[in-house]
């Protein structure tokens, strides 16, 4: 099985989630991270208006563990729903998962997904 980790704009999370559910991928978990990449230029203002360059931006990291054959499809769905074309759209990382267990039943492997 593969783990697909997608780091996306927080405001795109709902759209991505809905697209994944439509595509039949309901299992996932997400966490808020702060990240840094090519994206620059986000500026907050300080108390007296001074500019504060924020280099660590809030992002949402989604993790989906899916069957080997589904990883590509999941990436496509995510890219389509998350892309704006501006820098800061995020990254997807794919890695291998050796085993999956469903806690409730003890089932293993793809049937546990």
């Amino acid at each position: 099985m593969k783990k697909v980790e997608a780091i996306i704009r927080p405001e795109k999370f709902n759209a991505v989630k809905e697209a994944l559910v439509e595509g039949g991928f309901v299992g996932l978990n997400t966490v808020s991270v702060t990240g840094r990449g090519a994206q620059r230029g986000i500026v907050h203002q300080g108390r007296s208006g001074q500019s504060i360059a924020i280099d660590m931006l809030p992002k949402t990291k989604m993790e989906l563990v899916v069957g080997d054959g589904d990883a590509e499809r999941v990436c496509e769905i995510i890219i389509e729903a998350a892309r704006t074309g501006e820098i800061g759209d995020g990254k997807i990382f794919i890695s291998n998962v050796e085993e999956v267990i469903r806690v409730r039943t003890g089932e293993r492997g793809e049937t546990a997904l």
Binding site: H44, Q45, G46, S48, G49, Q50, A53, I54
Partner: protein
Amino acid sequence: MVNSGDTAFILIASALVLLMIPGLALFYGGLARQKNAGSTIMYSFATIGIVGVVWVLWGYTLAFGPDIGGFIGGLDNFGLAGVSASEGATPDAKIPAQAFMIFQGMFAIITPALITGAFAERMKFSAFVVFTTLWVTIVYAPVAHWVWADGGWLLGLGALDFAGGTVVHINSGVAALAAALILGPRLGFGRQAMEPHNLPLVVLGAGLLWFGWFGFNAGSALSAGGDAVNAFVVTNTAACAGIIGWVGMSWIFSKKPSIIGAASGAVAGLVAITPASGFVGAMPSIIIGIGAGVMCFGAIQLLIKLKVDDALSVWGVHGIGGTWGAIATGIFVGIGYGGLADGVTRLEQIGIQLIAIGATWAWAFAVTAIILLAIKFTIGLRVSESAEEIGLDLSEHGEPAYRL
């Protein structure tokens, strides 16, 4: 004569001023970074404990006891000896002597609490305890005596300070500058963003400060009559105008109307109207408020450029806001309310105001610096570098602000 209407008014006003200090604790706490939120709150809250006891023991008598040379009060009222809870201090007083005492006590508490914003995020709690005890005794009490006590030399000179422009705001703001210079900047100052961690807390604090300020300024009339009504009206109006001034500046200079700026602007307006609130009407109060918003905004930027780390901008808001208010009192006195004293021209009055301002700046800066240097070379002022990195909540108090 002592009466229930005025007594009720001053007691409630005193309660309002007390509430300003938790309000300030939250205002400062929200402006601090999360890892120092608790410790920043604790400075203000502990100040109530310390000064509340100091005031009834020796603070009140040093400030308002029988005058010694125009400079300080005698110890006759040590431990509130001879301060009656039911009789006025003078036959024409409208409130009992202890009501005046406790109202003034709240001012004595908030003034050192204001300073804590300058040394927040790096000063040892033990050093703070010593500092606050000494400061209220040898900086605050004398200045309060000069300006407000019978026989005080600035009062004699004719300086106008209705509710504490010099005594409270310049005094604390300039002490804050001394503290910022002597403690030095926080680790990472100028390189890392050090921004407010909790905006609703800042607005809550500002709201409680504003609410309490009605007690502060209107209560300074010491009776519920025309002076109080006027002070109330101009206080509110200047705070509103302060919002407009500061938010306007942020909108112009950083293209976005700042929320923290709205809270800060309200406070700036309130600071600046404080000395003037018994002497000017609503129209000048608009100018005073907008001016405060604009000037305090600029003053903070200036200090940042000078690389002085007044962590929560006490000098910018209280030092500069208070100075502007004290000058403005001279400029606008009598316009819309009150009037110049007999035989004093406006220019003379402005001159007197400048003397009061200069004396307060000098005294506050010099004596604060002496106290801080004395602490620095004895028990030390700052926490260790690693304690500062970890944050004072854990390193000084063993308590995180949040467990969310």
